[in-house]
């Protein structure tokens, strides 16, 4: 008897925690995608957006809708990194420096 109840408890707990985890993941995926889009826009604001960032964000969104939150987060994080790099790349060149192979 006792064992059966324990087992039942474990199953129930396991089930609810999966539900809670899954719910958290969807929220986490949404947050990650929002952060990625913000990073993309920030890069674009200094003309530093990369070619594929927007596409990766779209992929992340589609993946999220299919319920694969882990993959969606991975994609979103990749896009966010691209946004950050694109922004930094543009900012590091705010003042034009002529290459030394050109002589003046």
């Amino acid at each position: 008897m006792k064992l059966a109840i324990k087992l039942l408890l474990i199953v129930v707990l396991g089930f609810t925690s999966t539900v809670i985890l899954a719910a958290a993941s969807d929220k986490a995926a949404q947050d990650a995608i929002a952060a990625a889009d913000q990073a993309r826009k920030k890069a674009a604001s200094v003309k530093g957006e990369w070619r594929d960032t927007g596409k990766i964000i779209k992929q992340a969104e589609q993946t999220r809708k299919k319920g694969d939150f882990d993959k969606a987060i991975k994609l979103a994080n990749k896009a966010e990194r691209q946004g950050k790099y694109g922004y930094e790349q543009a900012m590091s060149q705010q003042t034009l420096k002529m290459p030394s192979y050109l002589k003046y």
Binding site: R51, P99, L102, K103
Partner: protein, 287 residues
């Protein structure tokens, strides 16, 4: 001329170029005048490709790609852009719905490609030939044409053909700070590394001109604008300069800008200025 080996993966080339890039350190942020820029770039190419006369740069990469030049000359005997010129002539001569023609907008036409790109004081911006064409159309109640593909290339091809033999002479009017600022903006664009591959236009078309990237010999920035619009075998059609800019931005995995947006118009202003004195020989054909 150092050669970079053809590698199948662009990443490998990136690594090579990045290493090459590190070998020099960027210097001199001092202001240089447009004439100083142009002279400096000419001097660079004269040193890099000894013995090639300046006028040859109007032929783009074929100034030094002797192998590619043979097939190019063969193609030019039966030019693939001929139909575009014919269609463009019809466009030029066919009145708009209101009875006016392009000639009413451009009294010096059709041989007037040398007047563009130019600084327009009233509009306070760089006006390119494709933009001027669409402004003319809209002023006459016609729909604007698309800027990369399609029939804009026909009218451009006809105007380019009629303008052959004229010389590039982009003017940056004195006492027009906006014009100089537009030029400087285009110059900055040209030297700014962008995209996942971290290349600037200059990385490929100045620093690595004459080196191979995949199957392409990289063309010199000098002479880049003389022959547009251009028939490209890869496109199977005649395309605009801004279509080419788009492709080159995408190649380095940067998000391209809008055709005829401010970025590309200013870039065109700078890039065309470099070719001042070179003969207009459009439309052209390229791989």
């Amino acid at each position: 001329m150092k050669k970079i080996l053809v590698k199948t993966k662009i990443q490998k080339l990136t690594a090579c170029l990045l290493l090459a890039g590190m070998a020099f350190t960027a210097v001199s942020s001092v202001f240089a005048s447009p004439e100083q820029d142009r002279k400096s770039i000419i001097e660079y190419f004269e040193t890099r490709f000894v013995g090639i006369p300046l006028s040859e740069y109007a032929n783009g990469v074929y100034a030094y790609d002797t192998v590619g030049r043979e097939s190019w000359e063969a193609i030019e005997e039966f030019p693939p852009y001929e139909i575009a010129i014919e269609k463009g002539q019809t466009m030029w001569e066919t009145p708009f719905a209101n009875g006016k023609t392009y000639k009413d907008c451009f009294p010096d036409g059709p041989a007037f490609a040398d007047q563009y790109p130019r600084w327009d004081k009233k509009q306070a911006k760089v006006v390119t030939l494709p933009l001027a064409i669409n402004q003319c159309r809209e002023a006459n109640g016609e729909k604007p044409l698309k800027y990369k593909k399609g029939s804009i290339n026909d009218i451009l091809a006809y105007i380019a053909y009629e303008s052959r033999g004229k010389k590039t002479h982009v003017v940056i009017p004195e006492g027009e700070p906006g014009a100089l600022a537009a030029y400087e903006d285009g110059k900055k664009f040209f030297f700014t590394r962008r995209g996942q591959l971290n290349f600037s236009c200059a990385t490929c078309h100045i620093q690595n001109a004459g080196n191979r990237i995949r199957s392409d010999n990289l063309s010199p920035a000098l002479g880049h604008t003389t022959h547009f619009p251009v028939y490209r075998s890869k496109w199977g059609a005649v395309g605009t300069l801004h279509r080419r800019f788009t492709g080159c931005n995408k190649q380095v995995r940067a998000k391209p800008f809008k055709a005829q947006g401010e970025e590309y118009r200013n870039l065109e202003y700078f890039l065309t200025y470099l070719s001042n004195g070179l003969e207009l020989n459009g439309p052209g054909s390229r791989k």
